[in-house]
């Protein structure tokens, strides 16, 4: 159930990384809001800056990266000016993250139980016994049988699907209000992927968490998202309710992405799939105009100027010079 309370409010987030070849503009002026009980999916291809966006929300950027923003608030609290101590208090406690590779995100030298309880004991000042009970409760919640015995096992003794469940349980230990999941199901089999996503959706519904899900898979997006942000070359090029984005995509990149996917029963077997020619532009140095213009079939002269952000009455926004919808668009 989506409420009106805004859990995460990010306006004008920019991340620059200095490299020997110049400054890499990984994330360029993106704005996002996630409400309690809402799932926002950030979708894009590799190198579009979606993982850096998620890491920057958690304050986990590499040292060479510089983050700036106009607004960066978590439940009304300004995180950009918060002390390191304060961030540490929130992270893992009220905001949690699920990483893509459960094998690298879990420490192979510690048992599942150690890793599940460590931050709970730290944040909640709980005893080992209490933390253990909480861990068993959550492992059962994420569908792991004989949870108590699992606590003594090491990550390598679990299958990929189980490890990802452990990661989810770990993120939920302290009852977070914001959950950021970076490709939580990508490394898994399709059958396990569906189970993990279902689990996430159910838990989110039950606990009323605000969730940001990062993925490259539009199938996942369509099935789980309330709102979708499509990222390209460090920018959000289109944003809106999931149903609107799939029913009437406005940005040529979004349309291109959707036409690329074979859909059983819809696309002609053996027929031509839509493609996006060209490659993602380099994000180093000064960038002018639309970053998609070199690959866009509708590119025109105006694309090298400042690109307006159009918005229709359903709240769908897109960054393109073309405004085909009849609704009056307000240029930004």
């Amino acid at each position: 159930m989506v409420t009106d309370e805004i859990v995460l409010d990010v306006q004008g987030l920019t991340v620059d990384i200095s490299t020997p070849r110049g400054t890499l503009h990984v994330v360029r002026d993106i704005s996002l809001q996630v409400k309690r009980g809402e799932t926002l999916c950030i979708v894009g291809e590799s190198g579009c800056g979606k993982s850096i966006t998620s890491l920057s929300m958690m304050g986990l950027l590499p040292k060479t990266a510089r983050r700036t923003s106009r607004v960066f608030e978590f439940l009304g609290e300004d995180l950009a000016r918060a002390s390191k101590q304060r961030i540490n208090d929130l992270r893992g406690n009220r905001m949690a993250m699920i990483f893509q590779e459960p094998m690298t995100a879990l420490n192979p030298a510690y048992t599942i139980g150690d890793q599940l309880t460590e931050h709970y004991r730290h944040h909640r000042k709980a005893s080992a016994q209490e933390a253990r009970l909480r861990a068993v409760e959550l492992l059962e919640k994420v569908g792991i049988a004989s949870a108590a015995e699992r606590l003594g096992q090491y990550p390598h003794q679990l299958s990929g699907g189980l490890r990802q469940r452990v990661m989810i349980a770990m993120a939920l230990m302290c009852g977070p209000e914001l959950l950021i999941a970076d490709e939580p199901s990508t490394a898994l089999d399709v059958t396990i992927q569906a189970q993990i996503l279902r689990l996430l959706a159910d838990l989110q519904d039950e606990l009323g968490i605000a969730m940001v899900l990062i993925t490259h898979d539009l199938g996942v997006v369509a099935r789980i998202a309330d709102r979708v942000a499509v990222m390209y070359a460090g920018q959000i090029v289109e944003e809106g309710a999931a149903a609107d984005i799939f029913a009437s995509p406005q940005h040529p990149y979004t349309r291109g992405l959707i036409s690329c996917i074979p859909i059983p029963g819809k696309t002609m077997p053996g027929g031509k799939l839509g493609t996006i020619p060209g490659v993602v532009p380099s994000l180093i140095g000064e960038m002018r105009g639309c970053s998609f213009k070199d690959r866009c079939s509708l590119a025109q002269e105006r694309c090298s100027d400042t690109i307006p952000m159009y918005k229709n009455i359903q709240g769908q926004q897109w960054r393109c010079v073309i405004n085909q919808s009849n609704q009056s668009g307000a240029g930004q």
Binding site: E45, G161, G219
Partner: protein, 319 residues
């Protein structure tokens, strides 16, 4: 006319160590697979990780000898065909274009390598042929002297395709050729593979865990579970009327970009079984929603009828 590829009771076991002081155990990676692939067909092989898809592919390529059974190409047993001759007829495209290309060689020399091995023509001719092939897969000649490190993932996969096709093989075994690629690049590679198939009269064995991709490219599909083929049918038929409960669950798990459908619950339960200790009877029975008492006892035999092959106790349907 004999089928282009035929496997008969194909089996491959591996001896695995389960602990320092424990006896080694036998893992049946592929366990009695009978397949026939006609010329110009595309056989899609689907299944979860650990079901034996890749072992099957390696056996077809002659990289792993079968423990039992045999593989016939055009009626000829591949164990009796000379290695070079086999390589001329059947070529691979692997999943990861980052590790399947030698990073220290130029693109042209990678593509020309099969010609070098077979000793075709002079070195200039080989290079020209490689560049011609690169052009055919959509890579401009200016890349010929670059190394793979300078190319994107999609471009590298094009190089791998050019290398596979440069000696004009009849069969190409594609092991998850698009899994490591972005969706827009995946579409380009699928389009290319379909064009090339027509142009060069190729037969593909296409392994993938992505059923939407298999539906798009394959003419028939084999569904594998724990080393066995549980269903083998023409693609359209399989997607319209999946018969095996495992096929049904796999199809249900395909997340198509259609909002509002929610996330399916296939009722498969938690785990893929341990391949070292496969369940008795039908290996799928612990996860099956439609299991019957006999499923845990008897191993179902492959039933061959007009609709295709299926190995399940539910078929033939008893009136």
């Amino acid at each position: 006319m004999t089928a282009l590829i035929e496997t008969k009771d194909l089996q491959r076991t591996f001896s695995v160590s389960v602990g320092l002081f424990k006896p080694r155990q036998t893992l049946h990676a592929v366990n009695g697979v009978d397949l026939t692939v006609e010329r110009k067909d595309v056989l899609g092989i689907v299944g979860e990780s650990g079901c034996g898809k890749s072992t099957l592919a390696r056996m077809l390529l002659g990289l792993t000898p079968p423990t039992r059974g045999n593989i016939l190409i055009d009626g000829q047993d591949i164990s009796k065909i000379d290695r070079r001759e086999l390589a001329r007829r059947i070529q691979p495209i692997f999943q990861d274009p980052y590790s399947s290309l030698n990073p220290r060689r130029t693109i042209a020399s990678i593509v020309a390598f099969p010609l070098d091995v077979l000793g075709v023509g002079t070195s200039t001719e080989r290079r020209n042929k490689a560049i011609e092939m690169l052009d055919r897969v959509g890579l401009p000649a200016r890349y010929a002297d670059n190394t793979p490190g300078q190319l994107s993932g999609g471009q590298r996969q094009r190089v791998a395709i050019a290398r596979a096709l440069v000696i004009n093989p009849e069969i190409v075994v594609c092991d998850e050729p698009t899994s490591a690629l972005d969706v827009s690049v995946q579409a380009q590679i699928l389009n290319l593979l379909l064009d090339l198939r027509k142009e060069f009269n190729l037969t593909y064995v296409f392994i993938s865990h992505n059923l939407a991709v298999v539906e798009h490219i394959a003419t028939q599909v084999a569904v594998m579970y724990l080393g066995r083929v549980v269903e083998l049918t023409r693609t359209a038929e399989l997607f319209k009327h999946p018969r095996h409960p495992y096929t049904q669950a796999l199809l249900a798990s395909v997340l198509t970009p259609e909002p509002g459908l929610g996330i399916p619950d296939m009722g498969l339960g938690l785990s893929f079984p341990d391949p070292l200790h496969p369940p008795s009877g039908c290996a799928f029975h612990p996860r099956c929603q439609q299991r019957r008492p006999e499923c845990s006892v008897d191993h179902p035999h492959l039933l061959r009828d007009a609709q295709g092959d299926v190995a399940c106790h539910l078929y033939p349907a008893k009136a």
